[in-house]
């Protein structure tokens, strides 16, 4: 059973989402996702200012093994990206919940509440 912090929200496609006090959200990939991908060697981040609809490809994470699209968990605009993780992609393997990818300003704050909670996501990854 991989680590699934209770305070975060999740998608079925293995992104984690943290609600920030300023109304933005922070997005990364879960412990389960980094473990499945293996050694991560490349991260492509979106441009600040890009707008996405929920489910759009927003970033790419590539491991030695495979490339994986990272989807916008909700509709909204990218307000920040984590350049440090682009410089050292292995940080995602080391701590998936610390190595965030991008922050978004959601078009509709209620959409965040509709994402999976830790219990629901945990059932999703149970094998």
């Amino acid at each position: 059973m991989s680590n699934i912090p209770a305070e975060l929200k999740y998608t079925a496609s293995h992104e984690w989402i943290r609600k920030e006090d300023d109304g933005t959200i922070t997005v990364g990939i879960t412990e389960f996702a980094q473990d499945a991908l293996g050694d991560i060697v490349f991260v492509e981040l979106p441009k600040v200012g890009n707008s996405y609809t929920a489910g759009d490809d927003a970033a790419v994470v590539e491991s030695v093994k495979a490339a994986s699209d990272i989807y916008a968990p909700v509709s909204g605009e990218v307000v920040a990206v984590n350049d440090a993780v682009a410089g050292s992609p292995e940080a995602i393997n080391a701590n998936a919940y610390d190595a965030w990818l991008f922050k978004m300003k959601p078009a509709n704050a209620a959409a965040i509440d509709a994402l999976l909670d830790a219990d629901a996501y945990g059932k999703n990854t149970a094998s």
Partner: protein, 373 residues
């Protein structure tokens, strides 16, 4: 469909391996970090479960005569007992049925090691050819029948042979002076009779060891206790790619001309000897070249099926690509037009970008050293 398992399946699970479906086989892709496993093989010693691959013994009165007609490489290069040869087995159209290693023991007994996914097709093809040519041979696969099954473990890396000798002292006597691409049968080891071949798929020194399937787990555990690091299919792929070695089903298959897949050095078109596929290859000739690519721009990892665009606009295709743990760059094997020169800059389509890559001669890495710039 239930997956097939090698005799080492329980050992992999005990080590906490991440298991994947590899062509119908339940195999370890890594035991934690694929990159660490890769580096262990380049710098020390690692081991791979290759028991999904299949030993095929061919016995009879004129095995050599049969293999002369069956294989694209010339088994007459095998004159001393214990010599090994890499070869393709072609269909009449010149496509690759499989690539394999043939070991010469006696005129009445040659051994082949063939790929996992192709083994049944290979044995059926060999049997059909033996019947058609009235060769009267016994063609016996040594994987699926518990009564005579063998299991192969590859031990690879600069310290691989020394570790094996510590564990199997009898093997030292038989193999200390043995050159690469040779094999010895070592009797009465702690793991029964063992086939010890100085071959591999990593570009490092080492052995591929064949024992009775019932001995495989004991051998594996003893090697692990001797400090040989278990390595999965993930590391096996990055290692072979750095070593510029083809993977069947990816870099070539039934529909690919081996001359276009960098295998001309294994195709004997010089001697008078006729073999299956020869006429087709002579008619087709070589129409593409097989080269290495190194990605020069940030923007992704080279992967199979990405399009390669040469300076004159002609195109080729990546057949295998990855991130090289040794070089810390994305590298690939690619089929490109004949006009492309070593040192040329080409462009590779990755998602919505066209990124610059340099064309280099294979291999990228051999015996721990980077050979390309």
């Amino acid at each position: 469909m239930t997956l097939k398992a090698t005799p080492l399946n329980a050992a992999h699970r005990a080590l906490g391996a991440r298991m994947v479906d590899f062509g119908g086989w339940d195999m370890p892709v890594n035991y934690g970090s694929q990159i660490e496993e890769h580096h262990a093989v380049r710098s020390d010693a690692g081991m791979f479960d290759v028991a999904h691959m299949c030993v095929v013994d061919i016995e009879g009165t004129d095995v050599r005569g049969f293999l002369r007609r069956l294989l694209a490489n010339n088994v007459d290069k095998l004159q001393a007992s214990g010599k090994a040869l890499y070869s393709c087995m072609l269909n009449p159209e010149g496509g690759v049925i499989d690539d394999l290693i043939v070991y010469f023991f006696t005129e009445n007994w040659f051994r082949l090691v063939v790929n996992a996914g192709t083994a049944e097709k290979d044995v059926a093809w060999m049997q059909a050819k033996s019947d058609e040519w009235q060769a009267g041979l016994t063609i016996k696969q040594r994987r699926d029948n518990p009564a005579n099954a063998m299991a192969l473990v590859a031990v690879q890396g600069p310290n691989a042979r020394a570790r094996v000798w510590e564990l199997i002292p009898q093997a030292k006597e038989a193999t200390a002076e043995m050159k690469p691409f040779n094999v010895a049968i070592v009797k009465d080891t702690a793991f029964g009779e063992a086939m010890v071949a100085r071959t591999g798929y990593t570009g490092e020194d080492g052995f591929e060891i064949g024992v009775a399937a019932t001995q495989a787990e004991a051998l594996w555990n003893a090697l692990a206790a001797a400090g040989v690091k278990p390595a999965g299919l993930g590391a096996r792929d990055t290692l072979r790619l750095e070593a510029g070695m083809n993977l069947y089903g990816q870099d070539m298959d039934d529909s690919v001309n081996p001359l276009d897949a960098g295998l001309a050095w294994t195709i004997d078109l010089v001697s008078e000897r006729d073999f299956v596929g020869k006429a087709a290859l002579q008619a087709k000739g070589q129409n593409a070249q097989f080269v290495g690519l190194i990605l020069r721009e940030k923007g992704g990892v080279l992967r199979a099926h990405q399009k390669v665009i040469a300076a004159d606009g002609s195109t080729g295709e990546i057949t295998s690509g990855t991130f090289s743990p040794t070089m810390q760059q994305a590298i690939a094997l690619a089929r490109v037009p004949m006009g492309v020169q070593l040192g040329d800059t080409v462009h590779v389509e990755i998602r919505d970008k066209k990124l610059a890559a340099t064309v280099v001669k294979l291999p990228f890495v051999r015996n721990g050293k980077i050979l390309v710039a």
